[in-house]
Amino acid sequence: MRIKAKFKDGVTTVKAMAKHPMLSYIQAKKKGKEANFITYIVGKVGDEIVYEASTSQFLSKNPYIKFKFKGGQGKELVLTWTDLSGKSKTTKKKIK
């Protein structure tokens, strides 16, 4: 996952893009593949959850997300996604 995390005036702004085909059921049927898409994304700083999204097949391919949270200066953001097949990927990024 590509992540940009920037701290300014007490708030961290995160822009991230996950690499995932996000095949909806219709798309998968046409391609003769299994539907598979990210179903859950969670962002943490230390033990604290700062972002949480339950997602569907209707997010675009290689989903882009943007979110903000209070604090985070100098800390590390850990973003994890899980897809329908159960695969998950975690990416860490230091907040600038």
Partner: protein, 154 residues
């Protein structure tokens, strides 16, 4: 080797279920399984049913939610959407143009700021609806997005 991998995977799940309560996460794919199956049928969009499935009520007032989406999306495969709702504890996004109504559900964490952007797929011209829960009440904002090329392989 396969067996080893499998065991490792199992241990990972076990560790994930043993996280302290402060970390307890809400994965609505698991807690609200039916929500994601609610269909949009011709003349009978599933948006209200989906709102009810998620929040327990479909009593929703207009306002307090700022929903930003294009008037016309040239490519339905990539439609940028922004949702902002000050004071919201939960935000959800629905539409009536794809086979199913639910798109995404955000739980706003303690230090989270309810200001989210993402890109979604729309198969055809749709009414996109954002719903926010603020102090136990539901508010919504709806926007029509005209799609010239569908984004769900349609």
């Amino acid at each position: 080797m396969e067996r080893r991998k499998f065991l490792g995977f199992g241990a990972g799940i076990l560790a994930a279920t043993m996280v302290p309560a402060s970390l307890s996460a809400q994965n609505y794919r698991e807690t609200k399984v039916d929500l994601w199956k609610i269909k949009n049928e011709k003349g009978k969009p599933g948006v209200n049913a989906a709102i009810k499935a998620l929040f327990g009520t479909d009593k929703v007032e207009d306002g307090k939610v700022k929903l930003k989406a294009p008037d016309i999306a040239e490519n339905g495969a990539v439609v940028p959407v922004s949702i902002k709702a000050d004071g919201a504890s939960r935000i959800a996004l629905f539409q009536d143009g794809n086979p199913e109504a639910a798109v995404v559900v955000f739980d706003v964490p303690k230090n989270g700021i309810p200001d989210y952007s993402l890109r979604i797929k729309l198969q055809q011209t749709s009414d996109v609806t954002a719903v926010a829960e603020i102090d136990g009440k539901l508010y919504k904002s709806t926007k029509k997005v005209k799609v010239t090329i569908g984004g769900c392989g349609g």
